[in-house]
Subunit: 376 residues, 2 copies
């Protein structure tokens, strides 16, 4: 929690649940990533947090943007970004959304299938397109399975087809999974991309861009490698596989830019036990999986929780959200311990919750309204 956030919580005592996010920390993270990967263009993954104060600050810093939908393209333009600074990075797009983005100046699009390529050729003629390939997601705490990307053999055919369809097959992309905690995942993916790159060049395709995706991790409860470690590993792998003929490099960080810039404050609604002698207490917060903490699904992302009683005696707890739905349980198997003095009415803070929270919040599950947002 940054001093600015602490001061805001202290002085404003906002209603809970709420996110308080320090936009200066966003800038610091952006600059730090830039220093760690000086050759890369940074496309902020808008989906991590599309709030205007974040986008506006990043526009001022010269950032590029990765949009998942036409609505996100619009949000970038509204914040002052040029269309040419936006990549439409979802491989799954409606044709009318491609057209609308193209009309606003977006010139870079992702694809991973024949049908999508046909849509792009019709709705964004001549645009730069890159093909997303499937790579391993080992080491990612929020892996991306096989939903996006295609096999290398198909990627090769599609890149050749793209040129024939009047598009500019500019490069390749991959994603090692979000909250990726190992640098090896990038190294393996770069090796895979480099082989296809060479192959495509030999086939006459003027590929010149590698999109490394995002995935850079944030510290939750456990330490993660520093961004500088990722920078070193990535630059090493690029040098190894591309030599001096480095391609243009794109990265699409979301979590890394905004994750540790935000804190969710929540009120404890109830602390109870299922039986009198049960050692495990249930702690119910006024925010849960449907209130924005969707990444606690399967207990994947383990947020650190601060309470007003930290430092006093603790005991094991199950942490749950406020709704009448049992899947709205945050942590049951993750060995969370909280102070024995914790009681209804206490305010607690979930740290590093600046990414993938606000927009996930349901519009009114069980009647609960989405969390408030404060950008300081």
């Amino acid at each position: 929690m940054t001093p600015k956030i602490a001061r805001f919580l202290r002085e404003s005592a906002p209603a809970t649940p709420c996110l308080v996010l320090d936009v200066d920390r966003v800038e610091e993270n952006y600059r730090r990533l830039q220093a760690a990967l000086p050759l890369a263009r940074i496309y902020y993954a808008v989906k991590a947090n599309p709030a205007a104060p974040i986008l506006e600050r990043l526009v001022r810093l010269g950032s590029f943007f990765d949009a998942a939908s036409f609505e996100e393209v619009e949000a970038c333009l509204a914040a002052g970004a040029r269309g040419a600074a936006v990549s439409y990075g979802n491989t799954v797009k409606k044709e009318r959304d491609i057209r609308a983005a193209f009309e606003r100046g977006v010139r870079l699009f992702a694809f991973d299938s024949e049908e999508e390529l046909a849509k792009l050729a019709r709705a964004a003629p001549g645009a730069q397109v890159y093909c997303r390939i499937l790579v391993g997601n080992e080491g990612a705490e929020w892996p991306l399975s096989r939903k996006f990307g295609c096999e290398v053999g198909m990627a090769r055919e599609l890149m050749l087809a793209a040129g024939e369809m009047g598009l500019d097959p500019v490069g390749l992309s991959f994603h090692v999974g979000s909250q990726q905690t190992t640098t090896a995942a990038y190294e393996a993916a770069i090796a895979r991309v480099a082989m296809l790159f060479t192959d495509l060049r030999e086939a006459g395709v003027k590929v010149r861009l590698v999109n490394l995706g995002g995935g850079f991790p944030v510290r939750y409860r456990e330490a993660v490698p520093e961004i500088e470690d990722f920078g070193t590993a990535i630059m090493g792998a690029l040098a190894e596989h591309f030599g001096n003929a480095l391609p243009e490099i794109i990265v699409e960080p979301g979590r890394f830019i905004v994750g540790d810039a935000g804190v969710v404050q929540s009120e404890v609604v109830l602390v109870s036990r299922k039986a009198k002698d049960d050692p495990v207490r249930w702690v119910y917060l006024d925010i849960g999986r449907f209130g924005g903490l969707a990444e606690t699904e399967g207990e994947a992302i383990k947020y650190a929780i601060r309470t007003p009683h930290d430092g006093t005696a603790e005991g094991p707890v199950t942490v749950a959200g406020p709704s009448c739905d049992s899947v709205d349980t945050l942590y049951e198997k993750s060995n969370v311990r909280l102070p024995l003095r914790l009681a209804a009415g206490d305010k607690v803070e979930l740290l590093a919750t600046g990414a993938y929270v606000t927009t996930y919040a349901s519009q009114g599950f069980n009647g609960f309204r989405p969390l408030a947002e404060h950008y300081v």
Copy 2:
């Protein structure tokens, strides 16, 4: 899909994704449940779908309401319900919400813990309270684990304490899990409640209410027992365990009342393969888990999907939502087969999606707005 919904889709061609719900079907379901359980008071579980046209129709039918939050209490009152017709059934409530509901005339509250009972005694003095006990959820497709309810021994102590605190410990509740496909779950739970009931009466507590919860299933892809079968089994179990001294009976149906009254229409955004010879196609819809289809988590609720090509040759598919998140995949292991002719731009219908969809929708995940709602 009812004829009214089919006509609306045909004549209005609404933008997708959207829910179209036939309020007359809500009334039919309400009357059918009333006929199946004539001795029970029906408290509609507002969380299943809190839309005003549904609540208003149910108010006219004389329904009672089960609210999960103060916001849902307000929705019932706005629809014309009396405060006395509303039960505040969430065992996890902020004290100020209890007070606000009590001030609006709500007189029936759930609890399952000591801390909650203390809040109720302070904020709703003299109110009727019922204790939720833990029961098995075998047979439920959306089970409720241990998040709500307490062990019988603790329930006994809390019911005794409630009287001493000036509350009216009116009865007991349980929940066999949502989309419960076996009648046996209710029979076992009733037996459990009846024992505690007798025990409490002997201890001098004037218990007189049994809240059977909800859980009555809707037909998705597979057939489920008819509501009349549940009625017969429940009345049989009540007669067996309570004899002629039947308690007041409450049921809290949500899914059963609105589930098959609604249809979600969605547009196919992309059909693709991961490799050229891959037999499985990926079908991406413009609604997914974060757009309202949250109950497809773990492929729990298996919606039937109608396409314009039904009856033509089919093949295996993975069905996913439109967002850049892999967990936004609906069906990967459920052996869904869809027509080979399905393509981007086709409209498909997800049947029996009237419950637990609209309010689950995220407010803007990946920039996608919540689905539209049409009540006809």
